[in-house]
Symmetry: C2
Subunit: 331 residues, 2 copies
């Protein structure tokens, strides 16, 4: 019998479809054609990207030259522009504003063949520290209200460059999906005097059926109302509203569990295309205190079609308990 | 300069990205491999689908035999099951219910090679009348609260069968995206004493820049805050909350504009994969009176990636005014 499940944070329902139940081997892997050709993100090609915003250079090499372990550069084709004032205006019943914001690319490694799942742990930690550094800096811009860090890995997950990178978009408004989550977390807190994410963590650590892996400070789970097969969340066990609110040593722990989780995903699903996002509290406002930052990792195994677009309701053919079992047991 | 635009119905923002502006020829058409092989939806293969729920048989041939112009059958791999009682239960902080609902397939034509864009107008009208017949019937089921009609055309839009068909899912809950739209429409009505969709129609007919085509009773537009390149809505000019609330002659007009719009899309975008959904009012409740049914057609030209999943915020590289111009001017 299929099951309807409700996400406890923002009330989104999903259909866990048993008729269509699918195991890892049922998903056709993406045709992996190397994109090939010249790579503007590789070491030595620093002049082919816009000038770097920050870079980690252990040997103190000059900006925009080789010798880095990580670079952050503006996106060459930005969805939003950083220059200008925020003008809001109407046009009859419609509202618009000019597209102010930041759109940056985190080049995660100088080496073309490395990914977050295969690079040394220190490299993954640098990536997370770069996210934090950029968040802290962009918080100072009074025009901006939210920063989304996201990653597209693999062609069918929307990556147009093969070289391992993630992106960061800073927005003048809090996006709907995040606002709904913050709102849901606040309502739950007002009703129960507890954080909904902390309650999820407590229940998952107790029931264990959806737990994938944990370390001292983090856990990785297949969420109860997973929208996608093998959807995976990583949450800090301690309540931190924002990704950049943690003490520095925790980023090493976060890197460890992210790397471990992605390695498991590679084994179980044969290096699948995936997207991840960091959901973090917004810049300000007391409601953000009830939020609890986390990673949402979404392997791209099925096609999202008319039903999902029309309803915001997802059909997931792999029960999260089964997904977690595969992910937990793989070596 | 990119522009942020807000959907007046449920407040979703989109980025209309000018840096990445894309014209019809910039989209790589889907690799069109014929799926081929045996087709269970073709005339003569009636025994390969579950028994028909309804069929239009002009010459009165018996059920589940050849001689039909349209059949509606249960989905062989239903996401929801029609048998059973609706049981709601909790599991700690989580909520679930069993997956009660209907999942049906509308086989739009007996002929494998025909599509909604190429079949005779009468065929398109039959498809719309079949949607209406099924909606009216399913409304009687007290366990159900909403019906979504949707269509996946082309492999990358999620179609697993090539033969022209659409689907209908009846749900025990009103899905989030529709509930938000109904809520937005109600708030607008409470504030202005007018329907937001009627106001959109008035402004679009006046400004004309996003108008694609109109007939006596309908118009086809590129919505102001389009999420996707060449997203197209079709709305009735008169206020009807539900798709099945219209007088019978109007379905011919609806078929005419749907056919015309899909033909234009085929010409401009070279037979693109697409999804469409019918957004209609829910079964009951006074709030549904403020709703105004419409088609949302979404060509699948770009990949939805991490940013969109993370935020519910879309980056659209084709301004709707440009899309409408292409669609309007094509022969």
């Amino acid at each position: 019998m299929p099951e309807l499940r409700k996400d406890p944070i923002h009330g989104r329902w999903v259909i866990i479809s048993t008729e269509r139940s699918r195991r890892p081997s049922d998903f056709t892997p993406e045709e992996r054609k190397p994109i090939g050709g010249f790579c503007p993100l590789c070491e030595g090609n620093e002049d082919r990207t816009p000038p770097e915003i920050i870079a980690y250079r252990e040997n103190g090499t000059p900006p925009n030259s080789p010798g880095w372990t990580l670079r952050v550069v503006p996106n060459k084709f930005p969805a939003l522009r950083i220059e200008g004032d925020l003008n809001r205006e109407g046009d009859g019943i419609y509202d618009k504003m000019n597209g102010i914001g930041a759109h940056e690319v985190v080049i995660e490694t100088p080496r073309h063949a490395e990914t977050l799942a295969t690079m040394p742990l220190k490299g993954v930690e640098y990536v997370l520290l770069a996210y934090r550094d950029r968040m802290i800096d962009l918080r100072n811009d009074q025009r901006l209200r939210y920063i989304l860090v996201f990653k597209n890995h693999g062609v069918s997950a929307g990556a147009s460059l093969e070289h391992s990178h993630s992106q960061l978009i800073a927005l003048p408004i809090v996006p709907r999906r995040v606002a709904e989550e913050m709102d849901g977390a606040k309502k739950y807190f007002n009703y129960k005097d507890r954080c909904v994410f902390c309650d999820i963590i407590r229940q998952e650590l107790q029931q264990k059926s959806r737990l994938i892996v944990e370390n001292k400070s983090f856990l990785s789970i297949a969420p109860f109302a997973s929208r996608f097969p093998f959807e995976t969340w990583i949450l800090p066990k301690t309540h931190y509203p924002g990704f950049d609110h943690m003490e520095s040593p925790l980023y090493e722990q976060a890197a460890q569990i992210l790397s471990d989780t992605l390695k498991r995903m590679n084994r179980v699903l044969d290096d699948p295309p995936y997207n991840y996002v960091i959901h973090t509290s917004s810049f300000s406002g007391p409601e953000s205190e009830h939020y609890h930052w986390h990673f949402e990792i979404m392997p791209k195994l099925t096609k999202v079609a008319g039903f999902e677009w029309g309803t915001g309701f997802y059909i997931n053919p792999t029960p999260p308990e089964e997904a977690a079992e595969y992910m937990r047991e793989v070596k």
